[in-house]
Symmetry: C2
């Protein structure tokens, strides 16, 4: 029996990685016939309070740096090596900042189980040489294992406190059985997991919503009110969907309009997130996004403005900038000295 | 030439009716070949500052009671009779509180042009003897003229101040040419009008969103955070769509998920409106909706709780209550002593 059980590894341990470790760790114990109890979690080692972070996590069962105040189940074991974390695991959760994905995957290459499956929780897209890729594809290509995606209206601290939320797993064509295993890894009474056969759509929602949140933040900074903000969010959602359908195969429109990864995450991001906040301050203060990131985000990165720039460069290389007037306006205002109050004039 | 021009009448003059009069009045002058300049607006006569409201509106070009501080174009003429307002008009805008629709339409019956077309801006639905009707159908049946619907993320005061917003016209099957005339009545650079062949969907969005806003307000009152609120909004949108598809013919799903009448209006209503506000207070104070309406709304009516009750009774008569778990939970909490924190337990 033990040989048939799935073994999980978590590659990453930031705010979101630690919140998901709490959920996954509990579910390992909830389904003992299905999962091995112990879960190794890769922690990029650093010194906190004069001690290694892995040691602190394993002694206190708490990620004191990135998710303080939340107890992790004792079956979560922090290790300072991705290879060690993944050893013997057939289920790999990738929850790292996107810039580390290629190097960590290269490190893991040749060291993962032949039957391993991955799931990507990475927001953002990789734009290189005029091409665009989601990180599930990057992981799949380097490691040679199938990779799903998970995204949703999931502010990590709220999830860690067991407040009600939903999320979405996007799975590969014909891969429903495997998605159902990941469903059991994550689903709880207060963290409801939906599933849709659309890895690209789920991944793109997580990246592109941040561009729309910049636009929503501009409307806040301009004092334009609730009608304008809702209109910009609606138009942004339509451009997100259009972009995905134009440049990726097999994308489902309902991923954008009906799932937690789509419309629900867009709502939380446009009302709560850091992209919205910095965009509001951008209009009110006239400072650059680089400056505001330093002043307001306390070391966190601002993803929306960077994604806006990457998407703009990608569309420009293809002569398609004008087909996405909201994305175009966001880029013009953020990086080309465009006037904020002309945000909607070309929509 | 004059004989071919359309003549507009506005039946109603509250906050929203006055805001729309400002827009429509200007557009009459923008398209002089298409429209007669003067627009009569039916005002339910009352005494304000010791004078008839119609007299004040016509002297000051301002609805001093319901939209103070906003100048109306001088071609808007207030009259105290619906029949007088509609005389000779072939385009009729209905923008009255829904309880007055049957009686005003009965009054108008036999007094409107044979080629008249109507458009309904009425939120809410009529539930009677276990049947449900949108008000565009009520108007059509009584007056015998085709009736479209307009709804969207349109807080009246923001529209009146020319802040950017969008709205949606739902038109009858094959009636696009007529919808395009109404498009010209309303569309401006800051009030963008979309169109979709779906009168029922557009009308139902305007009614059912208020039930979802009650649920969203409950999450605010419970302090559940942004994830939970977005999840409840998403689930509510799906129930709205499901309800419309189950009980009305020809409804388009994208009316709910892609238009201003659908997702955008849901967003403004769940973040800004009075239903959300009263529902939050309901959880925090334990007072009834009847009490909160009196205490918080300054004479305005609370539509969401009443619609929740009507929809519940309608579903109960059909044995379908359990197919709409969010609507069911809202009714249970609002009217059956249900516990607010169990809002999502049956979803």
């Amino acid at each position: 029996m033990s040989a048939q059980r799935h073994k999980l590894a978590i590659i990453g341990s930031g705010n979101w990685g630690s919140a998901i470790a709490k959920i996954a760790g509990k579910n390992m114990r909830r389904y003992p016939d299905l999962f091995e109890e112990q879960v190794k979690m890769y922690v990029h080692e650093e010194t906190v309070e004069g001690q290694p972070l892995t040691k602190l996590i394993n002694e206190r069962h708490e990620n004191v740096k990135y998710l303080p105040g939340v107890k992790l189940p004792e079956n979560i074991v922090a290790v300072p090596s991705a290879v060690e974390a993944a050893k013997g695991a057939d289920l790999l959760i990738f929850v790292l900042p996107h810039q580390f994905i290629p190097s960590v995957c290269q490190e893991l290459k040749g060291h993962i189980s032949s039957d391993a499956r991955a799931i990507s929780m990475i927001k953002g897209v990789e734009v290189k040489n005029g091409n665009i890729r989601i990180f599930a594809d990057v992981i799949e290509e380097i490691l040679g294992c199938k990779c799903s995606a998970l995204s949703g209206a999931n502010i990590a601290n709220e999830v860690a406190q067991d407040k009600f939320s939903e999320t979405t797993i996007g799975y590969r064509e014909g891969d429903l059985a495997q998605a159902e295993v990941f469903h059991k890894v994550f689903d709880t009474p207060t963290f409801r997991v939906g599933m849709i056969e659309d890895v690209a759509g789920v991944s793109l929602c997580g990246a592109l919503k941040n561009v729309v949140a910049i636009a929503a933040g501009f409307t806040d900074g301009l004092g334009w009110g609730d009608n304008a903000k809702a209109a910009v969010m609606r138009i942004g959602l339509m451009e997100m969907k259009h972009f995905a359908e134009e440049f990726f195969d097999g994308v489902k429109p309902e991923t954008f309009t009906e799932t937690s990864a789509g419309i629900a995450d867009l709502i939380t991001t446009c009302f709560g997130g850091r992209n919205r906040k910095c965009a509001e301050a951008f209009v009110k203060t006239g400072k650059s996004f680089e400056t505001l990131e330093k002043e307001l985000l306390n070391g966190q990165k601002l993803q929306g403005s960077e994604t806006a720039r990457e998407i703009h460069n990608f569309l420009k290389a293809r002569g398609k900038v004008d087909d996405y007037p909201l994305f175009k306006a966001v880029h013009a205002i953020a990086f080309e000295g465009g006037i904020a109050k002309e945000l909607t004039s070309k929509l």
